[in-house]
Point group: C2
Chain length 188, copies 2
Amino acid sequence: MGRWEPDARGRLQQAAMELFVEHGYERTTTADIAARAGLSERTYFRHFPDKREVLFDATHALDTLVVDGIAAAPADAPPLDVLAAGLRAGAGMLDGLGDHARARTAVITSQGELRERELAKMSGLVTASAAALVERGVAEAPALLAAEAGVAAFRVAFERWVATPGGPPLPDVVDTVLAELRRVVAPA
Amino acid sequence: MGRWEPDARGRLQQAAMELFVEHGYERTTTADIAARAGLSERTYFRHFPDKREVLFDATHALDTLVVDGIAAAPADAPPLDVLAAGLRAGAGMLDGLGDHARARTAVITSQGELRERELAKMSGLVTASAAALVERGVAEAPALLAAEAGVAAFRVAFERWVATPGGPPLPDVVDTVLAELRRVVAPA
């Protein structure tokens, strides 16, 4: 066992963001990240399987918050309202990350393989949300559709929030975009 | 210039699908695909940039059909109805591919990097659809939300259609799922 490294994970994430912003994602290696964090590359790989994953740690936390929010919503609420409660909880966490979330988005947008991984993570959030809705007794088809549409709205809200620093907090933007979604997808 | 190869592109796609189904995606090389098609590996790379892309040729055709269908929809239709017309046109093409589309889906589902590429292509369809709606005078925010929700419904419909051979044709499944989406996302 290696010696205990206080908050090695957080230091690696911080170092990675700094280097990606300073030199770009392509020109940064996992060895560079470990060195900047004052840790060994081996420690890096104890925490993250590859160079990409250091940017995606918060998505586990996001999934958990959304799923817990879904489970805690009022019993009689319709599926999209239940999901909205979960998305709002996740949005609150991301809103607290502020500048970090913005810098991270700039890095991800700059690079094709990171954009693909981000889409895969969002697809994971759809699956987790749909499963949490089914857990509450929603049928599979409406659960999946609510999750797809709701998470798409969440992504649109996130992009809007990133593009407007100093604007409304993310949970409010999520509510706004969900209301827009309801209007656009109103029954014909 | 190489000599003219009649339908080299189609032969490479056919050969690739056969080999992916017979031996799996991982164990098939671009040289194997070219050999099965009776072509050189150089010819392969004149048509496709990597091993993945041979599976994604139809997505260009799909994007074009959806975008053209959006442009041709009645002038006064609401955004999601306009998009539905485009998605139905794309669905008609995929429905005609039948067993090929099913075999292709099985290959893509089996492999993480193919799933990520597929998500990226669907994200491209969202972007293209939203742009086509904006082109018709829809404002950017509702155009993006309609595109996100509509393409998500299209994906759900496609998965349902793949899972039920002998069931209703894909355009009908798309209509069914869009109606379900409208019910789930009804204004609160």
